[in-house]
């Protein structure tokens, strides 16, 4: 295993800044590792030549005294629904298999501006509409911890890549958990910022009012560094306007004694597999030892929130795909097509009812968040299921795997709050378990501080999966 493979972006940045390490060396090392890890199927496109050229340019700029900051020369990947100028962007679909954007998404442009080196485009569930990344057009992406398991999704390639040491950073999107699910199942950090914090311009939509863009990394500090580079107002995405961008790492390491945190302990959030429950309770104990004040709380109207979130997701996704559903339906995978079609049978009044319920529940959530700085829950109520496994068992009850994966994460998209998952233990068969921390709106710094304190108090983030094979 290369010594560089599992270095964090912050560690690499320190050495690159002082010219102790060349970005070319880092990128060559990661590209060789990607080549050796083909069995994971984490990438749809690897831009090796361009990456080497960008790394060389970064090396020359830094040597000339033009260091741009902590992402300069750092290799990153982008979920393959983030537009990249001149590089195909498939959305994991057959319909867009040959689509080559004429411009960069805002997030891609900001990473380029920060000097990051693009490794390639990470695999995803078709059109981001699913949680397995078992893609009918590009093959299944595999979990580095066990190759017969899903990595989660829809940003499954991003989760697998970061966990396996195929670059310290990947950008994902999260509409109903699609950053946090693969991050948790692959044992890495996944950050979904507040709705409107990061521009969605140039990112293929799944559901406009639920979509979020954010990083998957191996440390909380790296997540803060990446968020710093990609956050902020963008005239091309009006939801980002009017925000003030704080120093996201400013509170890392600060004492948290007395900070009030709610444990989501209602009936909806209490349903989980036994191995996850054990790890979650242990994580709560760690938070208590850090001085946080923890109390059981209820998510307002969780069941109704889930119905409304599902309705909004299905209706908006069906609208995005309306034309193709009419004339290219045969080019979708079966599971994506079935979900998209459900949205076409929803009425305008049903959609608006769901959005009115959203107003109601968002207001009730605001009341709750006045009393608590953050909320915690497991990220996923089970460890990664096998590829193709239709159900999982939560306690004694078998339940649909997709519903189980999204259960604890999707409600946070519905109310737009920031959330992060950090590794918090090992469940059945050595598979990772994640702890979800939900913050107040636009208060990512405090949420990151809690996540960082937990991370530094435990060693879960230092675990590494087995070396992946080239073929399977």
């Amino acid at each position: 295993m290369s010594a560089l493979a599992f270095a964090s972006a912050a560690e690499l940045a320190d050495r690159i800044r002082t010219r102790d390490l060349s970005p070319v060396t880092v990128v060559d090392d990661v590209l060789a590792r990607i080549e050796r890890s083909g069995a994971l199927n984490a990438f749809i496109t690897v831009t090796a030549d361009a990456a080497r050229a960008q790394a060389g340019e970064a090396e020359r700029e830094i040597a000339a005294g033009r260091y741009r900051g902590p992402l300069h020369g750092i290799p990153v990947s982008l979920k393959d629904l983030v537009d990249t100028q001149g590089i195909r962007t498939t959305c994991g679909s057959r319909i867009l298999a040959d689509h080559v954007p004429s411009g960069d998404a805002t997030v891609a442009a900001r990473l380029r501006g920060a000097g990051a080196v693009l490794l390639g485009k990470a695999a995803l569930h078709e059109f981001a509409f699913g949680v397995t990344t078992n893609n009918p057009h590009y093959g299944p992406t595999r979990n580095p911890w066990r190759l017969d398991r899903i990595p989660g999704g829809s940003s499954g390639g991003s989760g697998a890549a970061v966990a396996a040491g195929l670059g310290p950073v990947s950008i994902g999107t999260d509409t109903g958990g699609s950053i946090r699910i693969p991050a948790a199942l692959c044992g890495v950090v996944g950050l979904k910022p507040t709705y409107g914090r990061v521009s969605r311009h140039g990112v293929f939509p799944l559901s406009w009012s639920l979509d979020h863009v954010g990083p998957l990394t191996r440390t909380v500090l790296d997540a803060a560094l990446v968020l710093q580079a990609i956050a902020g107002p963008d005239p091309y995405d009006p939801s980002t306007l009017g925000q003030t961008v704080p120093d996201f790492g400013a509170d890392l390491g600060k004492p948290l004694t007395g900070v009030r945190v709610g444990i989501l302990a209602d009936e909806y959030h209490g349903e989980m597999a036994d191995d996850v429950r054990v790890q979650f309770h242990a994580a709560v104990d760690v938070l208590a030892r850090l001085g946080l004040v923890l109390e059981d709380v209820e998510f307002p109207r969780a069941g109704e929130a889930r119905t409304a979130a599902t309705t909004i997701l299905y209706a908006e996704a069906a609208s995005v795909h309306e034309r193709w559903l009419t004339d290219r339906a045969g080019e979708y995978g079966a599971d994506t097509l079935a979900l998209l079609r459900q949205g076409t049978f929803l009425t305008a009044t049903q959609y608006l009812r769901a959005q009115r319920v959203r107003t109601l529940i968002a207001d009730e959530m605001a009341q709750l968040m006045r009393r608590y700085t953050a909320l915690v829950s497991p990220t996923i109520p089970t460890v990664a299921p096998a590829i193709g496994q239709p159900t999982v068992t939560l306690g004694v009850r078998p339940t649909d795997a997709r519903g189980a994966m999204t259960r604890l994460v999707r409600l946070i998209n519905f109310v737009g709050l920031p959330a992060i998952t950090v590794p918090c233990g090992v469940g059945a068969e050595g598979l990772p378990v994640g702890l979800q921390i939900v913050g107040r709106s636009m208060d990512e710094p405090t949420m990151l501080a809690i996540a960082h304190a937990y991370e530094q108090a435990t060693a879960w983030h230092t675990r590494r999966p087995p070396e992946p094979p080239q073929r399977i």
Binding site: T194, Y195, G196, S209, S239, T240, L241, G242, Q243, T244, P246, R301, E304, T307, A308, T310, T311, Y314, L325, T326, A329, A338, R341, Q342, T344, F345, L346, Q350, L352, R353, A354, Q355, R356, V357, R358, T359, L360, A362, M365, A366, M369, R370, N413, F414, V415, G416, L417, R440, S441, M442, D443
Partner: protein, 68 residues
Amino acid sequence: MISVDDLERMARLAGLSVPRADLEHLAPHLQALYADLARLMTLPIAAVEPAFRPTVVVGPPGKGPVAP
């Protein structure tokens, strides 16, 4: 209760050609979703406008910027 025939008519109105076997597969999922949606009508939303974008504005005065 919505039937497969109903769904077939709705699909036709929307200009969609969906095989009947696919509609038979969709019907129970939609049936459950419609039932859940009907229950949302019991919530106190009579005076509530749709959200369209999540706007949870939280935190004590002076803590954090306002959500967009």
